[in-house]
């Protein structure tokens, strides 16, 4: 039971550190570097202690950190899907398409695509050459990976 409480405390500490830094200093610690850093520390601790209970707790904590890492972009950036749901909720769950579209346009303006494009460029997935955009090797790997997922699971993409 003690180990479970410990895990819950670690998770809360992680959330509070993240929240504190994000709200007070506008620093987002939720980066791939943090995930790798925590994984390496856990690996070291796991090998050093060789205790079953600690290993189980470390795996759980690392999984929590990965889940948190996946969740955060959706929290910080306002996705179009959430905006549509938000508009519908404010309109008592039903409205006309034209009205929703109008409200959606007011909320999104033109920053949504620009922001996502900037993130892709910053992460090195896309590079600029003479004001033209090209996919980097990293970007190609990601696209190929998702294409495999789409083929295996027969997913439908609405484009």
């Amino acid at each position: 039971m003690e180990q479970i409480i410990n895990l819950i405390i670690y998770c809360f500490i992680y959330i509070f550190i993240h929240l504190g830094l994000y709200r007070l200093l506008n620093i987002n610690v939720n980066k791939i570097f943090t995930v790798i850093f925590i994984f390496l520390i856990s690996l070291f601790l796991g090998i050093k202690t060789s205790s079953n209970e600690i290993v189980l707790n470390l795996i759980n904590f690392n999984l929590f950190v990965i889940c948190f890492y996946i969740l955060m972009p959706g929290i910080i950036n306002n996705g179009p899907a959430l905006l549509i749901i938000d508009i519908l909720m404010k309109e008592n769950k039903k409205s006309t398409k034209e009205k929703i579209k109008h409200l959606f346009k007011i909320k999104t303006t033109s920053t949504v695509v620009k922001n996502r494009l900037k993130i892709n460029i910053d992460r090195g997935l896309i590079f600029r050459k003479n004001s033209q955009l090209f996919l980097s090797k990293k970007g190609k790997i990601i696209i190929n990976f998702f294409n495999i997922i789409i083929k295996i699971f027969k997913l439908k993409i609405y484009e």
Binding site: I4, I76, L82, T96, F104, K114, L135, G139, I143, I150
Partner: protein, 164 residues
Amino acid sequence: MNKLNFLVLFLPFIFTFFYSLTFLILQQISDKKYLSKLIYSFLFLLLLKIILIIKFYNFFNIQEIFYILFAFTCNCFIFMNLIQVPISSLQVKLLRMVSKNKGIKEKKINSLYDSNRIFEERLKTFVNNGTVKKKNSLIKLNSKKILIFYVFFKFVKALHNVRL
């Protein structure tokens, strides 16, 4: 580490593999919405896992039971996101656009992918996965499941001082 410890360690990962396998089989045989299949196959395996734990309760201690359930839930969350990303991520869509049109200019992307198109695509996805119902020009929220996500996201966004 004895055999049982190894089993406990890998059990959530084995079950996650079965989760992806269940989803894969359902995708091949059923035309129902993928979101429902993702959620229901998760619930089915979670239930199966709980039944197994109850049946072999004497072999596990509380921490191991907690580990098995927590790690399985986290793994499933990661898998659900892996499925969701190619369908709904705008970032991936932009990558695909650049991949199809090599050397495309940023202005062209902005003109091709304006808020009008984003809205239409999202609405199409929502109609196809049953989140909203479209009758003539009236759009109605259909799924109650999405409200759980909506309330959760609104709460966490408020914690981060991010406005919708």
